[in-house]
């Protein structure tokens, strides 16, 4: 009988094998013991260019490629480390100041240890991803050293040692090893001792620093290190204030201002058994002290009123709330409460005696309560709730400006560190307390900050300054601010992306020979009379059309879409970038492309007079607009002309024009009208949103005028055929890939969304809004007319649009077929296919359609449901952001165009509060608030009749404002104190008829 036992010494490898044993608990509460092998090795390079020994053993991948060494041979030195130094941050340093490491003025040659990387990943995934991004950028010279796999730097956890202590020890060990290794390397190369760079451990942990000193590892606190740098003062601001701030306050032993959050387990059980509710926290745009969250348990939103109930939740956070007892239920506020109006003169440094709710805030809220109580007999109080915990913070970087009044005059010029308030551009975000030494410099600038924490003892979140974007109201700074605020990726395309472009560049042409592989399975449609119709000045032409009569009396109609999928192959760098960008963003003066210019405006764009690859959908249609058959094919086309909507309209209307193109357009127009009628009969909604166009001077792109968009027949011509193409493609890809088709749906809005509007119409105009189906809604919207006021119908449509859900992309496998419906278009199934140059969803649809017609095999990435879902999630967000950014850009330019002008215009009252009302001016598409205190020098007395939506004022000025009323307003521009935006300001000149 032989024994299976081996003596440890007999195994030659035993010294280099270790195992990781740990216990983990699963989601279901089971405890598992995990054993993993760990192979320790000696061929993990130090990656310093000084070292030749490591180069010999450095690993190669399967293709035999060696990763280049990144740490430079002559790293920068500082006063403290004149020989040059490599940085070795520990986890805390990265957690507190990753912004610093991203700055371009310092922090080069950084060694990131595996221990640190893993710890960071467990602490914060976004920071981890940013760090990975840094290690991939060549110029910052970040190197990930896998210390846990290197024999010399592997550290075994000792009995009774906490995991944090063990990790700190691992960092110190790695630092020591690097030190010794580098001096050996330099000695081997015959260099003198002076040229050995120091390895400096950066840490914010005092204990760790002390131990490092004892172990003989050069170490330095983050703050001390940064102050030793040349531009230290600017960089110092970027260190998160978390720690330091807390220390100071601890000393003062302040009382806590906010209630403590519940523990995670308490929240989880609460949510599970239904006593607590989880949802996304949304702040009302009119009242910063009123939030609402939508939870699955109720169909109406829960209100969260007042600073104490909001309990440090910030717009967008995922929070857990507890419903308050019924006697505290309230109506949503009818009052406008703006932060800067109430808390204008707060001192950011003064912490003592600070109450959570200031006296004035309390007063403002009191009035609310009183009113609710007085009518609670018939009022409709909504359930209210208070936040008891935050599941996930959704903090991002915020753009704003420094509140000038919070900067003390005496230190404006000095370099002394002081605390200032930063007012974010987004009104729903509270002021952020920022400590800075550059207060004097950043006044009057757009700045970027992040929130670090919000402790119980602080009224405002604490953040740190990231960088300055430039002077307020300069075009560059404002545009960048807007892009940052809406998270638009506006950086130029990286080289890896540009490398994916065709090598011929601008000279690329459709191959002349039809034997070329590019012609494989492509139909030659160059002979057709194809033209495109787009807005003026459009460069990225996605679509072109043709129509011709067939001998049997029917028509052949073709929609030709730029064949972007030919140029953007799945899974290369360009595809990855496009999927992140998701959509092209159109600003008034700028376009942020999804694809590089060469493709978007040249090679893909269906420009006239040149041959281009296209993806065509061709139908045979009867004169009654019935589709006989449809066909999809890749093709080569040659557009005859690129019209603008106006040109096309003129040509169609001009009876003397009888050429082939014009008659084709007339055919298309005739068919499109029939299609539209059919759609309307099926219950499609014609909605409205305020749309204006800013005319800019061509040279300077300064705004000169604002025009409301005119609607032309040719616009709906193009629109109808695009809808037709989208619906037929949707049906086709769904039949080919029932689980993974990329589709777009528009959910039916819940009834409650329309309640208020229906009530308003009933009370004010005696009209009825029926909302049981889209057809009903469409019909009842048609009846909402005011014979005296033609615009009234549009106004109602605008307001109805705001009650709708937003349409979204989804992967067909994630929803049941009835859920596919597009409510607004009254279509059973829908997708986006017609604008692949500017939308990523269309590109995916193109790939799926190409596979559905057996043109090419479907790539794995568009076949996996999980992957598609994440793509959809991203492009839905990007799409919404792009729209908002576009609107914000128009808003900014309208403000600029009106700068210094005073105009009187007609407007309509859209919303009435107890202390103000919202007026919409169709001429400029602007919507703005008029507060009671704007009406006259001293704020007039007012009574608000919530049932009738009438606000009456008396005293200094007597007016009566009711909902839907036509008013005349004086428009001027003013720089808004709060957000630093130049905004239009409306003044009431006179009210309508009465």
């Amino acid at each position: 009988m032989t024994s299976l036992k081996r003596s440890l010494g007999s195994d030659p490898l035993s010294s280099s094998i270790s195992s990781k044993v740990f216990v983990r608990s699963t989601k279901s509460g089971k405890v598992q013991k995990i054993v993993r092998e760990l192979y320790l090795r000696q061929d993990i390079p130090c990656a310093s260019k000084l070292c030749t020994a490591c180069l010999a053993t450095a690993p190669r991948d399967a293709a035999g490629v060696l990763a280049p060494f990144v740490l430079s041979a002559k790293p920068a030195g500082t006063k403290a480390y004149p020989n040059g130094h490599y940085l070795l941050p520990d986890t805390n340093a990265l957690l507190n100041a990753l912004d610093l490491f991203e700055s371009t003025s310092a922090f080069y040659d950084v060694i990131i240890l595996q221990t640190v990387l893993e710890e960071l990943r467990n602490r914060s995934l976004p920071l981890y991803n940013r760090l990975i991004g840094l290690t991939k950028s060549a110029e910052k010279r970040f190197y990930v050293f896998f210390n846990e796999f290197r024999l010399e730097t592997y550290v075994q956890r000792e009995q009774g040692e906490s995991i944090n202590d063990r990790n700190d020890r691992a960092v110190r060990r790695a630092g020591k090893w690097y030190d010794e290794h580098l001096s050996q390397a330099v000695k081997a190369a015959g260099g003198n001792k002076k040229s050995v760079p120091t390895v400096v451990m950066l840490s914010d942990d005092k204990e760790n620093l002390k131990k490092a000193k004892r172990d003989g590892v050069a170490a330095c606190g983050l703050k001390d290190y940064v102050s030793g740098l040349e531009n230290g003062e600017q960089l110092l601001d970027m260190i998160a204030v978390v720690k330091e701030g807390r220390e100071i306050r601890d000393a003062r032993a302040q009382e806590e201002l906010f209630a403590e959050y519940y523990s995670v387990s308490k929240m989880m059980t609460g949510v599970k058994n239904g006593t607590l509710h989880q949802g996304i926290f949304n702040v009302s745009p009119y009242n910063y002290l009123e939030g609402s969250i939508n939870v699955p348990a109720f169909d109406k939103n829960l209100l969260v009123l007042g600073r104490e109930s909001i309990n440090r939740a910030v717009q967008g956070d995922v929070v857990v709330v507890e419903v308050l007892p019924k006697d505290q239920w309230k109506e949503p506020s009818t009052k406008i409460i703006e932060e800067e109006a109430l808390n204008k003169n707060e001192n950011p440094d003064a912490e003592d005696g600070e109450a959570v709710v200031t006296e004035r805030e309390r007063k403002a809220l009191q009035e609310e309560v009183k009113k609710v109580h007085s009518k609670s007999s018939e009022g409709r109080p909504q359930p209210t709730a208070r936040v008891v915990g935050v599941v996930k913070r959704n903090w991002r970087q915020y753009v704003g400006h420094v509140d000038e009044s919070s900067v003390s005059q005496s230190v404006k010029e000095s370099r002394k560190q002081q605390t200032v308030f930063l007012i974010p551009m987004d009104k729903r975000i509270p002021k952020i307390r920022v400590r800075t030494r550059q207060a004097g410099e950043i006044i009057g600038k757009r700045v970027l900050v992040t929130i670090d924490s919000w402790d119980r003892d602080s009224r405002y979140p604490v953040g740190h300054f990231v960088r300055s974007l430039g002077e307020l109201e300069t075009k560059g700074a404002e545009t960048e601010a807007l892009l940052l605020e809406y998270d638009v990726q506006y950086r130029p395309f990286p080289k890896a992306v540009l490398d994916c472009l065709p090598t011929d560049g601008h000279d690329w042409k459709v191959p002349a020979s039809t034997d070329d592989p590019g012609w494989k399975d492509r139909r030659d449609l160059r002979g057709l009379q194809i033209c495109s119709i787009d807005p003026i000045g459009c460069q990225d032409i996605d679509d072109a059309l043709h129509a011709r009569p067939l001998p049997n009396g029917n028509f052949e109609v073709g929609v030709h879409i730029a064949d972007v999928s030919h140029f953007v192959k799945p899974n290369n760098a360009m595809d990855a970038e496009a999927s992140i960008r998701g959509t092209t963003v159109y600003l008034v003066d700028k376009r942020i492309d999804m694809l590089p210019m060469l493709l978007g405006t040249d090679l893909c764009s269906l420009k006239p007079y040149v041959e281009r690859y296209a993806f065509s959908a061709i139908w045979e249609i009867t004169p009654d607009a019935e589709i006989v058959k449809s066909d999809f094919t890749k093709s080569v086309i040659k557009s005859r002309e690129a019209f603008s909507y106006e040109q096309a309209q003129i040509r169609v209307d001009d009876a003397s024009q009888q050429d082939e193109l014009t008659t084709a357009m007339r055919t298309l127009l005739m068919l499109s009208k029939k299609f539209k009628q059919k759609r309307m009969d099926a219950g499609a909604l014609s909605l409205s949103s305020p749309e204006v166009r800013v005319e800019t001077e061509s040279e300077t792109s300064d705004p000169i005028d604002i025009k409301t968009k005119k609607h032309l027949d040719t616009m709906s011509l193009v629109e109808e055929f695009m809808l037709l193409a989208n619906t037929s493609v949707a049906a086709k890809i769904y039949s080919a890939f029932p689980q993974t088709a990329m589709l777009r749906r528009h959910g039916a809005p819940p009834k409650t969304n329309f309640e208020e509007l229906a009530n308003q119409l009933k009370v004010k105009k005696g009209l009825e809004l029926r909302t049981s189906s889209s057809k009903e809604l469409a019909d009842s919207l048609d009846t909402c007319v005011d014979p005296q006021e033609s615009f009234f119908n549009t106004l109602v449509r605008i307001m109805a649009t705001r009650c709708m859900m937003s349409a979204e992309y989804f992967c067909s496998g994630t929803q049941a077929y009835p859920e596919f419906r597009h409510y607004g278009l009254a279509s059973e199934i829908y997708t986006h296919f017609t604008s692949p140059i500017r939308r990523y969803a269309d590109l995916v649809a193109h790939r799926q359609l190409a596979a559905a017609i057996d043109y090419e095999p479907l790539d794995a990435s568009v076949r996996s449901k999980g992957k598609l879902e994440s793509v959809c999630k991203n492009i839905n967000v990007r799409h919404r952001n792009a729209q908002q950014a576009g609107r914000a850009s128009i808003e900014y330019y309208v403000g600029q165009a009106l700068k210094g002008r005073i105009v009187e215009e007609e407007g309509f009252v859209m919303k009435v509060f107890s202390n103000g009302f919202v007026v919409f001016v169709p001429r400029f598409g602007i919507e703005s608030l008029i507060r009671l205190r704007d009406l006259a020098e001293t704020e007039p007395e007012s009574t608000f009749d919530a049932e009738d939506y009438v606000l009456r004022t008396s005293g200094s000025r007597e007016v009566e404002v009711e909902l839907f009323e036509k008013v005349v307003v004086r428009i001027s521009d003013v720089k808004e104190e709060g957000t630093g935006k130049r905004k239009v300001r409306l003044e009431l000149v006179k009210t309508g008829g009465k």
Partner: protein
Amino acid sequence: MPLDTSTYSLALLRLDGRRWNELRRLNAQISTQAAADGSSYLEMGNTKVICTVTGPAELKGTGGARAGGDKADVRVEISIAGFSGVDRKKRARNDKRVSEMQTTISNAFAQSLFTNLYPHSSISLSLHVLSQDGSLLAACLNASTLALIDAGVPMRDYICACTAGSTSSYSSNDEQADPLLDLNGLEEQELPFLTVGTLGNSDKVSVLVMETRVQVGRLEGMLAVGVDGCKQVREILDQVVRKRGVKILEGSQL
């Protein structure tokens, strides 16, 4: 928590610190159970298997010596211990996965053994999995080879097996993916992989099993690495056999 497999590209290191072309520690012994006709114990990393061979022996049951064909029957039985995985779990009696492994092993050895020398008889392999951490089928094949050698069943050559995978998953579709050798349990859960077994030092593939999806372009690289790994495995197994041989010659074990 270990890093996920996406960090491979940072330093060309796998989750357990190996390079792409390295085997795990492979440890084997033969003649571990004196009572069996042949036996072996094999560890590939944390995957541990005991194999015992009974036979060649006369077929039991109906028909006696006349039953069976003119070749010996190779029967394989795998039992997976309840404690072998992370969670204690009892396998169902006719687990499809296990029966497929049994068939695969049985078919492979039916080809490589000279079964025609033993008509009307059977060779029973009994495999006990003590611990699982990836490459289970490969470990079973290797253990069986050793046990059959110990039992003295004539064979054409060793069947040596190992797994080969690819550094990124099917859906990520990364063209720069490296092939990987000898996956551990964690890697098997995330990455596409195949099990390949070759006959001795030749490039003749006798077993090839793949249950995950992978782009066809990556398959060739994976297979080449796998076959190369099999040769390394053969080298190690051969050492074990030779050591045992030397001992027998010295008479120390007889």
